[in-house]
Symmetry: C2
Subunit: 203 residues, 2 copies
DNA sequence: TTAATTAAGTCAACGAAGCTGACGTATACC
DNA sequence: GGTATACGTCAGCTTCGTTGACTTAATTAA
């Protein structure tokens, strides 16, 4: 098996990726460091997200489902009785895309749809016990990675992580997170609102 | 225009998502908080990554390219003269998938392929000046988000962010990041190795 | 009470970006 | 001289996003 031993590949002399270190005006170095810091952040986001999402793939594949199913399951689990439109606004996909995954989730008994009480046009989505069980299985895999990272990094780092991640997401997502957190602290039945948006909305 | 005013939707009495607060054995509450912390991390990763990647979409769309093109451009830009196989191992996609985006990047003059000197089978990839210019445009959009987040969160938070993100990615990605950082500090021509893997490798 | 708006579903078709399997070619290495 | 490696390519499939058009039921406003 070619075990991808890329070690020491391409160790040939390569023109350094860094600009020539000669004749830097004052401040340029700082600016450069800042740019490198941001580029490193791009790397961090790519790798961390790739491996975070990949963690649950084994289970998904054995069930013939994809990541889209997992995302729906996750957000329905976190927001019982969420209206379809709110879920759409969280995921930022079209209802046709959501319909595809939702159909299979309902057919296979992972998600139930209940008619809204005050607005009977709504179909409020919740996990069935089977859905909760599946979500927990998927969660367990990602939890391994995340809690190991949290444990190794320590509490202060986790708080920093939280702050930076919040800063990266848009205002709508931040206020969603705020409401989710408030709900966590015992507030009764908040809206799952993803907060006002602006983008397209076609379909 | 229906401005997605989801505010206060579904504020009907909903069975709390949280387990009934009565009769908690000692420690259960802590355990619960820890689980909620990890679930919140899932949310953070989803929203932050969604908006981070979305930031460059406007430019990509106007050029008729996708995120796959951006990823290739990014990692080629960060690793001039990278062999195809190393890029594949970083992106973790098949060469057929990479070929599709690479073909258009080369055709449109954003990327050049040079024959390897010590191993002439290799096609070492680099950005052309046009490719660098495009990458900078794309970078600028993401930079806005990232540097605002860094600025608002502060240096200590950024370090925590970095530590947690490193912890989430797998060992191979961590050692890639280490090597990239070392290269940054003036070491001459390191390998772009994504470090040994294990997964499939078919195709 | 009628008309407009909204929530949700559905059919059809398309595009981006993954995937597998099977080969071909040039180069390296033993 | 034979095997393994780096890269490219043809063909076809899957997931999951997209647009556009249209229906039904329920709510809301005129």
């Amino acid at each position: 098996m070619p075990d991808q031993r890329v070690e020491a590949t391409a160790a040939s002399a390569r023109p350094a990726a860094t600009p020539a270190p000669e004749a830097k005006p004052a401040g340029a170095n700082l600016l450069f460091l800042r740019e490198e810091e941001i580029r490193a952040a791009q790397d961090l986001l790519f790798f961390a997200y790739r491996d975070f999402t990949g963690a649950a793939d084994v289970i998904l594949e054995e069930l013939g489902m994809g990541r889209a199913h997992h995302r729906a399951l996750h957000f329905i689990g976190r927001n019982p009785r969420i209206p379809v439109s709110d879920l759409l606004a969280i995921l930022r996909i079209t209802k046709q895309s959501l319909a595809r995954v939702l159909t299979t989730l309902v057919e296979r008994g992972y998600v139930t749809q209940a008619q809204g009480r005050d607005d009977r046009r709504q179909r409020l989505l919740s996990l069935t016990p089977a859905g909760e069980a599946l979500e927990r299985r998927l969660f367990a895999r990602q939890r391994e990675r995340l809690s190991a990272a949290y444990r190794d990094a320590g509490g202060a780092a986790v708080e920093g992580f939280r702050r930076v991640m919040r800063g990266i997401m848009d205002e709508a997502a931040r206020s969603y997170m705020d409401r989710a957190e408030a709900a966590q602290d015992g507030a009764p039945a908040p809206s799952h609102a993803p907060a006002p948006r602006n983008g397209p909305q076609r379909g």
